[in-house]
Symmetry: none
Subunit: 207 residues, 4 copies
């Protein structure tokens, strides 16, 4: 495009404005309750303009989510690559996950809601992102097991799901309640639970 300025109403940054508007509007009302006209209005463009940049309403949402995941992944991978210890890697993932979403609530809302829509939408599209993310976590878990810092008797798959599920739930709780959210502290607490476990006496799965 042309050199876009940030001059308020914006000039040449329609593409990004549409993406942002879509995330906001859909986060507020849901995908199927968000007419294209609402997204256009929020973005400050005409309805038809959206179709100059995207093939369909669907495509707008997919693009927005793809962009988020891409940025998210490359960010995490980069940070992780600089950390040798698997425990610290997992800690970094937790922090980045929570910080990333805490920084942009509409996005978090969207990820906790629309991403889990009807089978078709999720299966065809966002499921791949989920798999990628989970695989990344599994790798870290396996690395920790090789390093001897994570217990070998637990499944890396299950551990990764528990880890992701716990983080995801913390975000959901925030998103659906709206209470203040402190990503750093939350990450710390979640890791406290997941690393050390809930039980006092190492009775379960721990001899």
């Amino acid at each position: 495009m042309d050199g876009g300025d940030v001059s308020g109403a914006g000039r040449g940054d329609k593409y990004q404005r549409i993406l942002d508007a879509a995330v906001e509007v859909i986060a507020e009302h849901g995908y199927f309750n968000s007419p294209v006209s609402s997204i256009a209005a929020r973005a400050g463009v005409a309805d038809g303009t959206i179709y100059l940049y995207f093939k369909s309403k669907d495509h707008v949402l997919r693009t927005a989510i793809d962009a988020v995941f891409s940025g998210f992944f490359s960010n995490i991978r980069e940070e992780i690559s600089r950390i040798p210890d698997a425990r610290e890697q997992l800690r970094a993932v937790a922090r980045l996950h929570l910080e990333g979403l805490a920084a942009h609530r509409p996005l978090a809302v969207l990820l906790q809601t629309e991403l889990r829509q009807s089978a078709k939408f999720v299966a065809d599209f966002s499921h791949q992102h989920m798999k990628d993310y989970l695989n990344l976590i599994r790798e870290v878990v396996r690395r920790g097991q090789q390093q001897g810092v994570f217990r070998k008797e637990i499944s890396d798959r299950v551990a990764a799901h528990c880890f992701f599920g716990a983080l995801d739930e913390m975000v959901s709780a925030w998103v659906f309640t709206g209470r203040p959210f402190e990503p750093e502290a939350t990450a710390s607490q979640v890791l406290g639970v997941l690393f050390g476990g809930i039980a006092t006496i190492p009775k379960d799965g721990r001899e």
Copy 2:
């Protein structure tokens, strides 16, 4: 119009058939891709009949979900009340949670997807169920802490979220991948992680 709700199982089984049909159809195609006429057809009733029992399409879904949660809760509460040990109580919750959903895939699909539609829907409606469920888990955690079997230094809120999030994620993984699911074994694995933690050396949050 409807003059209140149809008390109990009602006369004909149409009421229940509509609920079942709604769960199935919506699980397959999603809420917004499930015309009322499809639900009616699946239930074997006329379109208009649905409005004799429910005041809107929305109401059908809400009622179905309410029924599920109610049954789920009373079931869990009853089972738990017979168990003295908090660890065993949590174990029972995990088992019932996974078994309950494993036994009825369409329901599981619906809970993992449609329940999280738009923030508004969740906030207005299903969030209350979630809160009830989480409170139930928190109570168990606190009981365990009093009993000395769960570590006192972790937040019961965080522990409950981690526990629920982990279970939820296992269901999601099943729902979105379709791979065979063994609730008993899965419950056991999840508890292995959550009770004992991932880490070997009690470094984190554990002295």
Copy 3:
């Protein structure tokens, strides 16, 4: 046709009313300039009602035209079957063709215009009807040649096209000018030209 159902706004004949309305509206404004809403309004039904009876706007037009052709064909075939002489058969075709269209101007307009739309529409659909009609005429021509009443040295294909083309043009002239039309007299004149030819001296193709 139209002079029939004057009985109030009509009740259960919506199917036919939609077809009639479609023919009228499309004849007046053309297929692409006739919104479904206009057809619905003319038929005295709601927009959505049209989709209870037809799959699409396209389908309405196809159905109308199919009905016309079907009625037209069976009518012509029946009349022809009772006539032994090929010349009289051709005469009957001409008369029925012109009378049939003269009796329902909107239909004639539609056949002279929309039926010849863009390649896809014509090729896929109405072309088959045309072929059937032309084949019927060719058969009559061949029969006349066998009977010795039509010249053997002319191609039945070309003769049939000339015959149809001449009739078609007479209809077009009427449709586009709006001048009064006498099907009987016109048929007679056209046959006068086609049977006897234009030329006085049998110079051309006639020895």
Copy 4:
């Protein structure tokens, strides 16, 4: 900007390129399925450029057709003026008509289809051309009647319509079937039918 095809093709031929592109594109997809942007793309100009030369999409098509008819007429008039015999004049018209369209299939398609779009379009616009053409033919017929080579008892109007209708149908048959077309031979066959008639015994309108 684009630095495209500035070479050779010349500067100011845009007007003609747009007309040609319109004929091609509309012949392929029909008027209403041919966005202005497609015509512009085919012509190698920007969408807006079309509006520098024409005041609407409609105007492009009208202009193209006007040009065709004008060229066609002046050509026919000139050729005819050099021929004394009315039979040969008619023969020339048939040949030029068929050759002219055979030489440029997109144009033929357009004339057989889009020209007959809606009654309104035809009535408002192309009908005048048709009338001119038919009058030209009628003149030739009358001339032949005066020369004694055409039968006086047939209406020049009807004869002209039959003649034009027959030619038109031959073109339609070619356009809609796509079979190979030999204008010279076809003209000859059509004239064989129209000059000499179909019937053997001069029974009809011929004593």
